[in-house]
């Protein structure tokens, strides 16, 4: 099986997925601007609404990106049309992974950036950036798991379970952080110190995320065909 990637077609497939995702993306973008504007009002109630809206949007982007590009394609039987074009399963897999990651990472990074700006430019303790990094890390891992499951498993039920389950795990995760004294002491201070347990968790998150993506790429890319 040829392992050369057909980049022009991969690019077209990514653009195609972006175009299919356009309406949802537009709604998310609008929601993002509104959420940032709430945060920009510098009032406690607006801060609460803005941050809540941003978290909802981030989760929505993660779920919709995976759903539109993978689950809907399968459900509406458009996969045969795409695979009848000159693409290999590896091209298709790379296009799906790259397109999805791009769709998710752009709003994810914008949000992370604005969160950092809020922490550093307001009287909030700068140490909170450690907590923010851990929370963002969890959302990223949850997204990678959902993406890998969607690429691997056809069942809609399992996919929903993976999406909701991985995101909901943020609660026990926050409880776990709450019990780590070394992390808690940093969060209240104005100095940005990265305690060893926090670094270990971030490392584990990076590893899990990468492992999920690598498995999805390896498992789908080595298939000679999808049917």
């Amino acid at each position: 099986m040829t392992r050369e990637l057909n980049w022009p077609v991969i690019r077209l497939l990514m653009i195609k997925d972006w175009q299919l995702f356009q309406k949802q993306l537009a709604a998310h973008l609008l929601g993002g601007i509104v959420a940032l504007a709430f945060l920009g009002m510098a009032k406690p109630w607006a801060f609460y609404i803005g941050s809540l809206l941003l978290i909802i949007l981030l989760v929505a982007v993660a779920c919709f990106a995976v759903s539109t590009s993978l689950l809907v394609e399968r459900k509406e039987q458009t996969l045969a049309f795409v695979m009848s074009l000159p693409v290999s399963p590896l091209d298709f897999t790379v296009a799906k992974l790259a397109g999805n990651l791009l769709t998710f990472l752009v709003p994810f990074l914008v949000m992370a950036l604005f969160t950092a700006i809020i922490i550093f430019s307001t009287p909030l303790p700068d140490g909170l950036v450690v907590l923010a990094a851990l929370v963002f890390g969890h959302v990223l891992v949850a997204y990678c798991i959902s993406l890998a499951v969607a690429m691997q498993v056809e069942s809609e039920g399992w996919n929903l379970f993976a999406m909701i389950g991985s995101m909901v795990l943020i609660n026990p995760f926050l409880m776990l952080i709450g019990q780590m004294d070394s992390v808690q002491s940093v969060l209240r201070g104005n100095a940005v110190i990265w305690p060893a347990p926090a670094l270990a968790i971030l490392g584990a998150q990076a590893l899990i995320g990468l492992a999920c993506l690598a498995f999805a790429l390896w498992s789908n890319g080595r298939k000679p065909a999808f049917y």
């Binding site: 309406k23 045969a80 009848s84 000159p86 065909a225």
Partner: protein, 294 residues
């Protein structure tokens, strides 16, 4: 002879269905009709030929490329449309045309425009609003305008109203005038196959029952009505595929028809009343019922 595709001992196993030891060749420039009932394995065969499915064993070569390994190179020259293939509901036909046009350098925009007119399709209409016939025509347009060397069509006329069916058949007939373009199209409608094909293959339960030129098929088969007592030895005749009583008469269906057969029937005590050529549908049904006995 250059082959558009060669299948050699191909098997494909699914939990509920198997395609077994399948060998078939389509010479370049030929139009082959693939006839089989629902579930015969036609779609599996076409998916194998487009690289969408990988064979469990055996060799597939399409336009000189081994599949599924060289599927990208092969698919550049293949046009594949299937009855169950869906386009993106939320997007317009123009969007699909643009997507395919950017992938295929051979895309013929003028031809696409003429097909758009002939099929009476609106490019700016969302595909989700298309009827079944319009969807099939849209798929055909997307296939034909890329000027493929090999056209693979899975049940292109199934479910179409008579007008749409005539339009699709007419445009296919036009495409088929190009002697370098090879076509394999599957159908359970033998009339369509008879109308278009140079050669015909019958499939049943994942096996190839018969494959030959259309004329040879029609020439080889005869239906004979006769009267008299049927001798037991008649069933051993290799040419006889089916025997049944039709009122006071006996209906016999022969393949590999020889001109001396009426005389041989008379010799065993049967008086021939009538000899008719058979329709393709009749030949197909008889073959399937006989289980592909050669």
């Amino acid at each position: 002879m250059t082959a558009a595709f060669v299948l050699q001992g191909v098997s494909k196993h699914y939990p509920q269905f198997s395609l077994s030891d399948f060998s078939l060749t389509l010479p370049e420039g030929q139009i082959m009709g693939l006839v089989g009932v629902n579930g015969a394995g036609k779609s599996t065969l076409l998916r194998l030929l487009t690289g969408l499915a990988a064979p469990s064993s055996g060799d597939i070569e399409v336009l000189g490329h081994r599949l599924p390994e060289a599927q990208v190179a092969a698919k550049r020259k293949i046009g594949f449309a299937a009855e169950d293939m869906r386009l993106y509901r939320g997007q317009t036909l123009a969007w699909h045309i643009e997507l395919v046009r950017r992938i295929y350098p051979e895309w013929d925009s003028a031809y696409a425009a003429s097909l758009l007119r002939r099929f009476d399709l609106r490019a700016d209409q969302s595909v989700g609003g298309f009827s079944h016939g319009q969807r099939v025509k849209a798929l055909l347009l997307l296939c034909l305008a890329r000027r493929p060397q090999l056209l693979l069509l899975d049940e292109p006329t199934t479910g179409l109203d008579p007008v749409a069916r005539a339009e699709v058949l007419e445009s296919l007939a036009e495409v088929l005038r190009d002697e370098h373009r090879s076509v394999l199209f599957s159908s359970h409608n033998t009339h369509d196959v008879e109308q278009l094909s140079d050669s015909i293959s019958f499939m049943h339960q994942g096996r190839l029952l018969a494959s030959a030129d259309k004329e040879r098929f029609l020439d080889e088969w005869r239906r004979v009505l006769c009267v008299g007592d049927v001798p037991d030895a008649l069933d051993a005749w290799p040419e006889l595929v089916q025997r049944r009583a039709a009122g006071s008469q006996i209906e016999l269906k022969f393949r590999r028809w020889q001109d001396d057969l009426p005389e041989r029937l008379a010799q065993v005590g049967l008086s021939v009343q009538r000899i008719d050529p058979m329709t393709l549908e009749d030949i197909f049904v008889t073959t399937v019922r006989a289980g592909g006995r050669q």
